[in-house]
């Protein structure tokens, strides 16, 4: 950042704060423009510079963000766009948004480094797409207006479509099309749900809600309308519409089938971004929209959502076990992992929500790194089949060390990041039962807002927890085959590219840079920040947990209002059910 801009004159500082988020979107876009008009040779370096600049700006934003007030939206700024329709480009970030923006910014330069030698054709288009993707992802996280949100949300698809269809593997066209249509279909339905809420809010449905009389698409306003003035059945439909888009994005079972296909076909950086950030658009959407807009409905349907998550955890995990393609294995593991993430959301208590949001970040770090490692291996061997390769630790000790490290982060080894989030998700699910308070299970006590209330419980936690065993199974079997064991290289592969005797592939991959057997300094540079983050967040997650306390408490308060915890002594499940039944027939404000 230019020191002039950050100069401590109050005007400059407030101006910077005002435009901070706008800059976070605009800087990658500006660099995309620069890359588009720079020679192919400099495209890489320019893109790296662009992502680094965005990263630096993010660091400034992180430093200026008031973390003690994480629930409040900061750096708010509105740019009027279509005032007559109430549409504006309005931005603001709470701590959840900030952390996800930080994750996006961290993965940016790492992905550029990972694409350094892998992308040799149409370099400019590649990096232009990539930078636009960065901007769109940041846009999703900072949007405070549903139209702006939706535009960014959909705009992630186009560059991703380009990345997969142009630089993917053999089935790239099919994968890209499936990806695009699958997620696009879902998110259009999401838009319908959001617009429906705006429609109600504008008072366009006489007899339902008087409304404000004018259109607005501000998330904050719509959230109040949706959560307070909609009946349970309205909320349920809105929830279904929202989940149609978000569940596909996450992806939840059974709408996950686009993911393994897209991941296996995408270029390495595409997979990293897909797993690291794009999937989080779904979970972020659930946290930001589905829960606050439809708290009653979400609470009501939490067991259904949790069941889908648990099926995803076990189903995805077991499928991982029989994969031969390493990348497909990691892709399916995302289905299992994101199951934990949404399960934490469905728990609707502090532990579950904290765990879930942490999971978004942690999964981005560890799975992103695993995709990087698989990509580095693929660049050297041109195969990802566990039948053809094995025992790479003998050839690539540094790669193997990183692999084991990130696999351990991924299986949730305590001391690394994955454990903290996974444990909190499981604990949250375990707690989330009304029966703890009613004494059915022997511990009569009071319901504790944000902890022991809900309609999940230990059985959900137990079954989901068995996914931890499955995770150890498939990941360690993969490590046992690929990293350890006797060295096995594909036939015709005369050793890594650095070796002298390597002539055969010279012509076939003439444009390809020569890579040494083990990781290069560039590749280690890409992996090291992720490794450090995994370790630090595993040992010292306290700053993250306290940063997330605000938004999580706010959400839990919302849920508790919706839950209307009955006074101790009354059987809460029945009361809640009765509440829901009355809610179904009359608008909520009447029942209060």
């Amino acid at each position: 950042m230019n020191p002039d801009t950050t100069a401590p004159t109050p005007d400059a500082a407030s101006l910077l704060d005002q435009w901070m988020l706008g800059l976070l979107v605009l800087v990658p876009l500006a660099f995309a423009l620069v890359v588009a008009f720079s020679p192919d040779k400099r495209a890489r370096a320019t893109a790296l510079l662009g992502t680094l600049a965005a990263g630096l700006l993010t660091v400034v934003a992180l430093a200026r963000f008031s973390w003690s007030n994480g629930a409040a939206f900061q750096f708010e700024h509105d740019v009027h766009w279509l005032p007559s329709l109430g549409i504006s480009v309005s931005m603001g970030a709470d701590s959840v948004s900030m952390l996800l923006v930080a994750l996006t910014a961290l993965l940016g330069p790492i992905c550029v480094l990972a694409s350094w030698t892998a992308i040799t054709e149409r370099v400019r288009l590649y990096f232009v797409s990539f930078l636009i993707l960065q901007a769109a992802m940041v846009g999703v996280f900072i949007a405070r207006d549903i139209i702006f949100f939706y535009i960014c949300f959909e705009f992630t698809l186009i560059p991703m479509y380009v990345l997969v269809s142009q630089w993917g593997s053999t089935e790239r066209k099919r994968a890209a099309t499936t990806f695009f249509l699958y997620t696009f279909t879902g998110s259009v339905i999401t838009l319908a749900g959001l617009v429906y809420v705006a429609w109600i809010n504008a008072g366009m449905a006489p007899g339902l809600y008087a409304g404000s009389g004018s259109w607005t698409f501000q998330i904050a306003t719509l959230q109040i309308t949706a959560s307070q003035h909609m009946t349970l059945s309205q909320q349920s439909w809105v929830l279904l519409a929202l989940l149609a888009g978000f569940a596909v994005k996450v992806p939840l079972f059974p709408v996950h089938t686009w993911l393994p296909l897209t991941h296996t076909q995408a270029p390495t950086a595409g997979s990293v971004i897909l797993a690291g950030v794009l999937l989080k658009l779904g979970t972020y959407g659930i946290f930001r929209f589905a829960i606050p807009f439809c708290p009653d409905a979400f609470m009501h349907y939490a067991p259904v959502i949790a069941t889908l998550c648990i099926i995803g955890i076990l189903y995805g995990g077991l499928i991982c076990w029989v994969q031969e393609d390493v990348k497909k294995l990691v892709a399916y593991s995302s289905v299992a992992h994101l199951g934990f993430c949404v399960l934490g959301l469905a728990a609707l208590n502090v532990a579950g929500l904290q765990g879930s949001i942490l999971y978004m970040i942690n999964h981005g770090l560890s799975t992103g790194a695993l995709f990087l490692l698989v990509g580095f291996m693929y660049e050297r061997y041109h195969t990802r089949s566990m039948k053809e390769i094995g025992g790479l630790a003998a050839k690539m000790p540094v790669w193997a060390t990183f692999m084991v490290f990130f696999v351990m982060a991924s299986v949730g080894l305590p001391g690394l990041n994955g454990f903290v989030s996974e444990f909190l998700c499981i604990l949250g699910t375990f707690q989330a039962s009304d029966k703890w308070a009613t004494g059915v299970w022997g511990s009569a006590g009071t319901a504790i807002p944000g902890a022991t209330a809900g309609n999940l419980g230990p059985w959900y936690a137990l079954v989901a927890g068995s996914g931890v065993i499955v995770a150890a199974m498939y990941l360690l079997i993969m490590v046992g085959k690929v990293v350890f064991g006797p060295l096995k290289e594909p036939a015709g592969h005369g050793g890594a590219h650095g070796h002298d005797e390597h002539h055969g592939h010279e012509d076939a991959h003439a444009t390809e840079a020569h890579l040494p057997a083990d990781l290069t300094a560039r590749e280690i540079t890409a992996l090291l920040p992720l490794a450090v983050a995994c370790l630090v967040f595993g040992v010292f997650p306290a700053p993250l947990l306290s940063a997330l306390k605000g938004p999580v408490d706010q959400t839990v308060a919302l849920i508790d209002t919706a839950r209307q915890i009955p006074p101790p002594g009354t059987p809460s499940t029945q009361t809640a059910a009765a509440d829901l039944r009355t809610l179904e027939h009359e608008p909520k404000e009447a029942s209060r």
Binding site: T177, L181, Y182, T185, I189, A192, A205, L208, Q234, W237, A241, A244, V255, T257, P260, Y315, L318, I319, W321, V322, A351, A394, V404, M408, L413, P414, G415, F419, F423, L424, I426, L427, F430, Q431, G442, S443, I448, P449, G450, A451, T452, P458, A461, G465, V468, I469, A472, M473, L476, G480, V483, F484, G485, P486, V539, F540, P541, A542, L545, V556
Partner: protein
């Protein structure tokens, strides 16, 4: 810096809790954790700088010795009550209204803080002490791998000590879990140390996955503990559990909710996994694929006792359940017997030791189950010494004979030059394991068996343990009589062709500093593709050097000296170690204990002013002890007897006799008249037993059974899911895409682009959905 910063914060949050104040512990305890981490960092640096000397080993020995010294300091300082050394914040959450903040149930706290009581210190003493000795041993044992492998080994070794310290010293269950899984990781890394060997990789994987099954139980136990007691910090749990403890003391188990009684059962599942008990024991014998120092430290002396530690640490909760301790006791006893039967039929001496470890761990669990936590802990300590000694002796043999471990191919080591100390070590270890009178193993085992007969209803466990003691003596001395004594005969193992060759390959461009004859020999053999290298020939065993001999000698002395602990007058039956246990949360004075107190009880000379077996600290542990001052003098009327005698008075002789019988049988069958290494008189007996020896040798086909019952169905399920995913779910999605396309083709046959089909389907879907939504909401 940060380590100490949150101290004040912790104190603040701790203040409103309803509990007796707990003193803050010595800050240097944190160094016990920091030093092994320093070792990890130094070893990693060595790897990065490509150090090709034994530097990592000596850095490790230095770090661990310092940690041991600090632990000794902690021991000297330790008082009767537990203390807590605050570290830093790990996972802290809080919720609820402001009124409820800072009370249990409204916050979740898991800090990097240490809970130091006598149990902690006891465990840390032998963990750090043995780790130091074994690191010294490994400096020589692993010298064939000097280079990156050497650095990797010692980094994992240090990481293990760190994890084990977290497990033992953590002040909450989640930190215990951190260590619990951490030791699992190190075990994984070290079993798979020879990572090119498929069997080693397989064994490492198996260990980790089977442990994870137990870990799930532990995790659920932690969740349940939290939900029920509102905290996972030991001090709070014990404080919260006090009403139940009182109820349990009075035998009013009906007042304890079933859910609370479930907690210890879940924890026990975790303990069975980590400590290799039925039905999760199968990983431990395979874990012998790791280098022998690892087997000695991790898979014999320390890590596998973590389950015993868990039960001992959470003993107050185990006492709340009517089923938990009987479960622990029976599982332990059956494991002891079962593993012993397998151990009798094995030929690989390291495997025999592995099965004996499983068996001895069973003894410890049985001890916990029959209400002698002191006996169990004493057995942990004595076992740690003599089993480490046995493993390290086996390791020296393996090292010297190129990986040979088959007792049919080794004989008469005692008479070979340079093998005196190894033979002595084996003898001392075997005597201890067999429970030869006046060895430490004899006393600790006797405490367990005796208590099993004293505690009402557990006499069957006592009989099983007594029978197993005989079997143990037999298979232990089977090894001794075959390998150490008898005619001199040996064949080298196959390591000439496998492990060493690989290492040579791995470091081929680097000349080893190690010029051992057998290593050079290995190269020669490889070059000539020479397969009939056995039968003496030009193979020269490589006698251990100073580091191995020093460690073996030290451990021999310590294993013998450990029996002295029994006689230390402390007022507690069994001497110093049980006295330490009595000052911890594991304290439990059996109401049926009526053994005579050794002379000079109550002097407390050894324990100094801290001696407090009778002074019950204000908070929990010893308050569980039945506060019946007459229990000692007057035998409890319900106390069991051994065939009408006082078990503790007569079992000294009985178990001694059983041990003698076992040794004598081994002498007759495996030593008397034996002229070759391969055969002994026992072979003539085998046909009489039918297929039983073969079944035992094949470990009763348990692995095959698990494979058939668990793995195969799961794999089938996985394949089915994969198929479903490929066909059904994907097909369904395509069908949804295809229907509009099909409709489209009906309407406009010219159009058949896939994109259009999807788009049409999408638009239709949206339209239908919006229609439904509006219809429903507008009604």
């Amino acid at each position: 810096m940060t380590i100490f910063s949150s101290l004040s914060m912790l104190a603040a949050t701790a203040a409103p809790k309803p509990m007796s104040p707990i003193l803050s512990g010595p800050p240097e305890a944190l160094l016990v954790l920091a030093l092994p981490i320093l070792g990890v960092i130094l070893c990693t640096l060595c790897a990065i700088m490509r150090v090709r000397t034994r530097m990592p080993a000596f850095l490790t020995v230095g770090c661990l010795a310092a940690a041991f010294a600090i632990t000794v300091g902690l021991y000297l300082k330790s008082g009767p009550a537990p203390v807590i050394t605050s570290g830093f914040e790990w996972i802290n959450l809080s919720w609820g209204d402001s009124a409820g903040e800072n009370s249990p149930f409204h916050q979740f706290i898991a800090n990097f803080s240490l809970y130091l009581d006598a149990l902690t210190v006891l465990w840390m003493l032998f963990v750090t002490g043995l780790a130091t000795l074994i690191a010294l041993y490994a400096s020589e044992y692993m010298s064939g791998d000097v280079g990156t492998g050497y650095c990797r080994f010692f980094a994992a070794f240090n990481l293990f000590v760190f994890s084990m310290s977290c497990l033992v010293m953590g002040d909450n269950m989640l930190m215990l879990f951190l260590g619990w899984e951490g030791v699992g990781l190190c075990s994984y890394l070290l079993i798979g140390y020879f990572y090119k060997k498929p069997s080693a990789v397989e064994a490492a994987k198996k260990a980790f996955i089977l442990n994870r099954i137990g870990d799930l139980g532990l995790l659920m136990g932690i969740c349940l503990t939290y939900v029920h007691f509102g905290s996972i910090e030991y001090r709070d749990i014990f404080a919260q559990a006090q009403p139940y403890i009182d109820a349990a003391k009075a035998g009013r188990y009906s007042e304890i909710p079933a859910i609370v009684q479930l907690i210890p059962v879940l924890l026990a599942v975790g303990a069975f996994g980590k400590s290799a008990q039925l039905p999760l024991y199968v990983w431990l014998p395979d874990a012998m694929e790791g280098p022998t120092p690892v087997s000695a430290l991790i898979h014999a002396a320390t890590m596998v006792t973590a389950g015993v530690y868990l039960v001992a640490r959470m003993y107050p909760l185990f006492l709340l359940s009517e089923i938990a301790l009987p479960l622990v006791g029976w599982v332990g006893a059956l494991t002891a017997l079962f593993a012993a039967t397998i151990g009798m039929a094995q030929f690989d001496i390291k495997r025999i030791m592995a099965y004996s470890t499983v068996s001895q761990l069973g003894y410890m669990f049985a001890g916990l189950g029959v209400l002698t936590s002191t006996g169990a802990a004493f057995h942990v300590v004595t076992h740690a010494f003599f089993k480490a000694l046995l493993f390290l002796s086996c390791g020296a043999i393996m090292h010297g004979f190129a990986g040979q471990l088959d007792l049919r191919k080794l004989s008469g080591l005692r008479r070979m030059k340079g093998w005196g100390i190894v033979s002595l070590g084996m003898l001392v270890g075997c005597l201890n394991l067999a429970g030869f009178p006046f060895t430490s193993g004899f006393f600790s085992k006797d405490m367990l068996i005796g208590e099993a007969f004293v505690t009402p209803g557990t006499a069957p466990i006592g009989w099983i343990l007594l029978l197993t003691a005989g079997l143990t003596a037999y298979y232990t001395f089977r090894v001794f009589f075959r390998v150490i004594v008898g005619p001199v005969h040996y064949e080298p193992g196959d390591e000439l062709h496998s492990a060493h060759e690989e290492h040579a390959h791995g470091d081929s461009h680097n000349e080893h500093a190690h010029g051992d004859s057998h290593n050079e020999h290995a190269h020669v053999e490889d070059d000539h593709q020479h397969h009939d290298h056995g039968h003496g020939g030009h193979f020269h065993p490589h006698a251990p050097g100073w580091a191995i001999n020093t460690v073996l000698l030290t451990l021999s002395v310590l294993s013998l000296a450990a029996s002295g602990l029994y006689f230390v007058p402390t007022g507690v039956h069994g001497g110093a170690v049980p006295a330490m246990v009595d000052r911890s949360s594991a304290a439990y004075q059996s109401p049926f204990a009526h053994h005579a107190i050794p002379e000079g009880a109550g002097d407390g000379g050894h324990e100094g002013p801290d001696h407090a077996a009778e002074t019950v600290p204000s908070y929990v542990p010893t308050s569980i002890a039945m506060e019946d001052p007459h229990a000692v003098e007057h035998p409890h009327e319900n106390a069991g007897t051994f065939l009408g005698w006082d078990p503790h008075a007569v079992l000294f002789y009985v178990s001694g006799a059983v041990g003698f019988i076992g040794i004598f049988v081994a002498y007759v069958l495996h030593y008397a008249g034996r002229t070759t290494a391969a055969t002994a008189r026992a072979d003539a007996l085998l046909p009489m037993l039918g297929p039983i020896p073969r079944w035992a040798q094949h470990k009763w086909y348990v692995d095959e059974f698990y494979n058939l019952v668990v793995r195969v169905p799961l794999l089938a399920l996985a394949h089915t899911f994969h198929l479903i995913d490929k066909l059904l779910v994907d097909g369904l999605v395509r069908m949804f895409g295809a229907i509009p396309r099909w409709l489209g083709t009906l309407i406009r046959p010219t159009q058949s682009g896939e994109l259009h089909g999807y788009a049409a389907g999408m638009a239709t879907g949206i339209a239908v959905l919006l229609f439904i939504v509006f219809m429903l909401t507008l009604r």
